[in-house]
Structures are given as structure tokens and as C-alpha cells.
């Protein structure tokens, strides 16, 4: 019975949408969070400690609170209502990217700080420009970058508040759908269809484990091979 549910077209479509929406959210968040983490990790400036504390605190922001704020902003009469992002996949991705950005900023800035100062000097004495030396340090901190990406993706794909409030759990055949694994699970539990919810939960767990395993494998391969 579980196998039939897991392999059904509808469930597969929802699972693929979850991966796509949270994958885009992770890429978006990496794109703007890594530069912020580099600034915090490389430079000492007034207020830096407060900024770090802010991002650390934001890691624990409740998804429903962020979801509500974003809903009010993206609603037709909200300040960003014109963008038409409410009840769209991209709307969920943007919301999730804001949710996971603090994870990336904190993990990556801490990793950069943990890289020995000597690595920068080594790169410079081997003829690197300042920019190349900074890239070398980021590469040394790549375990932290990868860990942040995995943690961020896992947080995004497992969250419910934003997906529900911004996405609306829409599923219409042939239409623009926003139903993802977590919103579908919530819906099936509320309907009392526990078996389907369990099947979706198993898929969610499998995705989290497979993504983590593949990321680690690729990372080890890239580090060790010539």
C-alpha cells in the first residue's frame, strides 16, 4: 500500500516540487549570504559582533512568524503585492531563502574565521593576488560552506509555515501548483489519511538523507582527487 502511494504520479510530482522549490531557495540564499559571511568572516568593523549575534538569533526564527510577515507583504494590498509572488513556487522559494540565510551566514563566517591566518599568507607568498588568496580561504572553509548548504536545504524542505502561508497548498491538475511535501502531510493528517502522510514523511526523510550523503561524497571526491 505504502509503495503504491509513494510511486503514485501525484506524490512524485509533489516530491519533485519540494526539491525544486527548496533547491532554488538554497541557491538564492547561498548567492547573497556567502558575500555577507565573507564580510563578517574576513573583516573587523564596529558592530560586527552585534551583526553576528543577529544572524545567530535569526537561525531560530519561527517559520510561521516569517511566513506571516511575508504573507502581509506579498498579499495583493501589501507593499510587495505588485510582484504577484503570493501562491507561487517562486514566492515559497524566496520566503525559504530568507529563512535559511542566517544558517548560511553563521556557518560560513564561522568557517572562514576558523581557517588559519597562515593560509592567506601562504596563498600570498605563492603569488596569489588578494582576491585569489580570499578564494583560497573560502576553499579551505568549503566544509563549512557545504555543511551550511545541506543544513539550509534540509531546513527549507522540512519547513511548513512559509510553504503553507505563501504557497497555499494549491494542487489542481494541469494548474499552477504549490503543494509541497510538508503542506501535503499537514493536509492529509488533518483529513485523517495517516498512511499517505506517513508515505510523504518517508519520502521527505529519504530526500534529506540522500542529499546529505551525495553532498559529502562529492565533497570528499573533489578534495582528494587530482
Amino acid at each position: 500500500m505504502l509503495i503504491d502511494i509513494i510511486t503514485s504520479e501525484e506524490v512524485l510530482e509533489i516530491a519533485l516540487r519540494s526539491i525544486k522549490v527548496s533547491g532554488i531557495a538554497t541557491l538564492l540564499a547561498l548567492g547573497y549570504s556567502i558575500p555577507v559571511a565573507m564580510v563578517i568572516g574576513f573583516f573587523r568593523f564596529p558592530g560586527r559582533d552585534y551583526l553576528k549575534s543577529f544572524f545567530n538569533a535569526m537561525i531560530g526564527v519561527p517559520t510561521v512568524v516569517l511566513g506571516l510577515i511575508l504573507y502581509l507583504m506579498l498579499a495583493p494590498n501589501g507593499i510587495l503585492g505588485r510582484l504577484g509572488l503570493l501562491y507561487t513556487e517562486m514566492g515559497i522559494s524566496i520566503g525559504q531563502s530568507l529563512l535559511i540565510s542566517p544558517i548560511i551566514v553563521s556557518f560560513v563566517s564561522n568557517s572562514i574565521e576558523a581557517v588559519e591566518k597562515e593560509i592567506r599568507e601562504l596563498a600570498l607568498t605563492l603569488g596569489a593576488t588578494d582576491f585569489q588568496a580570499s578564494i583560497a580561504m573560502i576553499k579551505e572553509a568549503s566544509s563549512g560552506v557545504l555543511l551550511s548548504a545541506i543544513a539550509a536545504f534540509n531546513r527549507a524542505i522540512a519547513e511548513l509555515g512559509i510553504a503553507l502561508m505563501i504557497g497555499g497548498n494549491i494542487f489542481v491538475r494541469g494548474g499552477q501548483n504549490t503543494r509541497v511535501l510538508t503542506t501535503a502531510m499537514q493536509m492529509y493528517v488533518s483529513r485523517g489519511e495517516i498512511e499517505i502522510a506517513i508515505a510523504l514523511g518517508l519520502i521527505l526523510m529519504a530526500i534529506v538523507f540522500i542529499i546529505s550523503y551525495l553532498s559529502n561524497t562529492v565533497h570528499t571526491y573533489l578534495r582528494g582527487e587530482t
Partner: protein, 237 residues
């Protein structure tokens, strides 16, 4: 003359770590800097290798005042006392300096191979560098410095904390570097090492050069009282 330092001063806060250093480094020579702990050896080497800039004085590189341009920086490479290793394979460690210079892949492979051969680590290319022993890591660090074909290599106590076998290997590598025409400057606590491999010796004491000369003169007939005391073991090192 590859390097000429004129009236170099370096301060840490108000403390003068180097005082009025005047030094010429000749092309192709092996120059050793000896001195007790805290004499300013590492500070001087860091200035020569352009990792730090002097607070006062002028640094001439190949007759021209040093502007610390990327071209000038790329002619000098430093090997640190504690081997600093990128967390990747031996090959990628050595390839780094070539990549940042834009050396194409085929040429880079050839030069990595040559450098590994020079330090006796031909079969180590695929090994993860951080899993190697201290002596092997130091050899990787030297191969990495040699691969970029600098005109001057600066080594800060390259054999500190190594066993006698590795010390011998690294001393032989230093001699090979000089045979290839690379100018070598190294610091050491070990006077016998300076005697074994250097052509000229600089004795640094409390941030000042107290004596410079060829090995024979310094060890057999030092003119400075401080150097005499240092060589007789009356000064701690």
C-alpha cells in the same frame, strides 16, 4: 644583488623588532640567518619575502625600489617553520602557485612532477597532504615553493622539530635549489646546519645585524663579541 635592504626598521607597537638593518643578498647564494630566539629572524624573513613591509628604510629588489607589485611578489616565495598545507591532495597543493599564475595544465603537470621528484615524493601526488608526516609536509611545502620557479626562496627554520633523517633530506634539497640557480635564505637555530650548507651567514641579535660574513670567517674568526659568545654557547638560542 637580488635584494638590498637599506636602514630597515620594523616596530611591533613601540618595540623595535628590527633596528637599522642593512643587508645585501647575492644572486644564487645560500645565506643563513642565525640568532637566538627573539632576535628578529622571522621578522626579517617576512620582510624579505614581502609578507610584511618595513616601517622605515628601503627595500631594493634586483636594483629597483620594491613597490610590492604582484610581479615583484611573485619572484620571492617563503616556506614557513610550521608547514602550512592546503586541505587537499599533494598535487593540488603544489599546483596552487602555478594556477594563480595562469600556467596551463600540461606545463603545470610537468612542473608539479619535477618538484615532487626534487623532494623525493614522486608517488605522493594523490595523497591527502594533511595525512603526511611533519617531514613529508615540509617537503611538500618546499616542492610547492620550488614549482613556481622563484628567484629567491626564503625558509624560516625549515628543519625545526624534524628528525635527523628528514633534516638531512631537507638540507640536500636546499643544496639542489641553489644548484638550480635559486637564491636561498634560511634561518636556523642550528649553527652546525648553517656551517654545513650556507655560503654566508648573518648573525642577528636583538633586532640588529651584529656580523655578516662567509661561513669560514664567522665560525673561525668572528669579529663581534656577541657572535663569539653566541658561537661558544654563552647566549641562549
Amino acid at each position: 644583488m637580488i635584494v638590498r635592504l637599506e636602514r630597515i626598521w620594523k616596530y611591533f607597537g613601540s618595540f623595535p623588532a628590527l633596528k637599522d638593518i642593512n643587508l645585501n643578498i647575492r644572486e644564487g647564494e645560500i645565506l643563513s640567518i642565525i640568532g637566538s630566539s627573539g632576535a628578529g629572524k622571522t621578522t626579517l624573513l617576512r620582510i624579505i619575502s614581502m609578507l610584511d613591509m618595513p616601517d622605515k628604510g628601503v627595500y631594493y629588489l634586483k636594483g629597483k625600489e620594491n613597490t610590492y607589485s604582484i610581479e615583484q611578489r611573485r619572484s620571492v616565495t617563503m616556506v614557513f617553520q610550521k608547514p602550512v598545507i592546503f586541505n587537499t591532495s599533494v598535487y593540488k597543493n603544489i599546483e596552487f602557485g602555478l594556477k594563480v599564475r595562469g600556467v596551463e595544465n600540461g606545463e603545470a603537470r610537468k612542473r608539479v612532477k619535477e618538484a615532487l621528484s626534487m623532494v623525493g615524493l614522486e608517488d605522493y601526488a594523490k595523497r591527502r597532504a594533511k595525512t603526511l608526516s611533519g617531514g613529508e609536509q615540509q617537503r611538500v611545502a618546499i616542492a610547492r615553493a620550488v614549482a613556481v620557479k622563484p628567484e629567491l626562496i626564503v625558509l624560516d627554520e625549515p628543519t625545526a622539530n624534524l628528525d635527523p633523517q628528514n633534516i638531512k633530506v631537507i638540507e640536500d634539497i636546499i643544496k639542489k635549489m641553489a644548484e638550480q640557480g635559486i637564491t636561498v635564505v634560511f634561518s636556523t637555530h642550528n649553527m652546525f646546519q648553517a656551517k654545513r650548507i650556507a655560503e654566508r651567514v648573518v648573525h642577528l641579535h636583538e633586532g640588529k645585524i651584529v656580523e655578516v660574513g662567509n661561513v669560514k670567517k664567522i665560525f673561525e674568526n668572528p669579529s663581534s663579541e656577541v657572535t663569539k659568545k653566541f658561537l661558544s654557547g654563552e647566549l641562549f638560542y
